[in-house]
Symmetry: C2
Subunit: 115 residues, 2 copies
């Protein structure tokens, strides 16, 4: 099996991960599914856990990453705000930039691995 490369960016503040792979995946799942509970199911986490992560994301940003329409949990659904979309886009772009920049050096490291 060829080796899989993972570059993961985490931004910590006050002993909390303000932005990291789990939170970005949650926002992406909310964008796909339009709901916190469906996103939680997709990522195999409880509604409570998804809601708490989302609350941490929203508190760590200047403006919230999602907006919930009237009706709440059972009702109106949850969509990403422009800031939420920008956060995902920038995060994924940074990962791609990092992988591209390090590609040549990564090849040399991988040559140290057993076949």
């Amino acid at each position: 099996m060829p080796p899989q490369i993972q570059f993961r960016l985490r931004i910590r503040r006050n002993d909390e991960i303000a932005v990291g792979p789990g939170k970005i995946s949650l926002l992406e799942a909310i964008d796909r599914t339009g709901s916190i509970s469906a996103a939680g199911r997709e990522l195999e986490m409880s509604y409570r856990r998804a809601w708490m992560l989302l609350d941490e994301i929203n508190r760590s940003l200047k403006e919230p990453a999602v907006s919930t329409a009237a009706g709440g949990r059972q009702g109106g659904g949850t969509t990403l705000t422009p800031v939420g979309r920008e956060l995902i886009q920038r995060y994924r772009q940074i990962e791609a930039t990092a992988e591209q920049a390090a590609a040549a050096e990564l090849k040399k490291l991988i040559k140290l691995l057993a076949p």
Copy 2:
């Protein structure tokens, strides 16, 4: 508190992390201390855990990352091989390259965070 940026590289193969931050930190600690048990203490892991991680590292490389002098656990100490040193050096260089390449984009992402 200013945000702390962490870029972490992991190389997975066969559902195992062949190279990752924990294993690189262990090799660095062995290099500093000259022993698996002292390195384990420094990283707050058991000798058994440190030994198992090291075994995984050695098995995932073409050549072992460490060599243990006669005497074993109580005796001769453990030192890095040239391959072990090259692995650490390349890993840390890749992290630095990634951070430098993504620095401008990271600043824009950090602007989305609450002050």
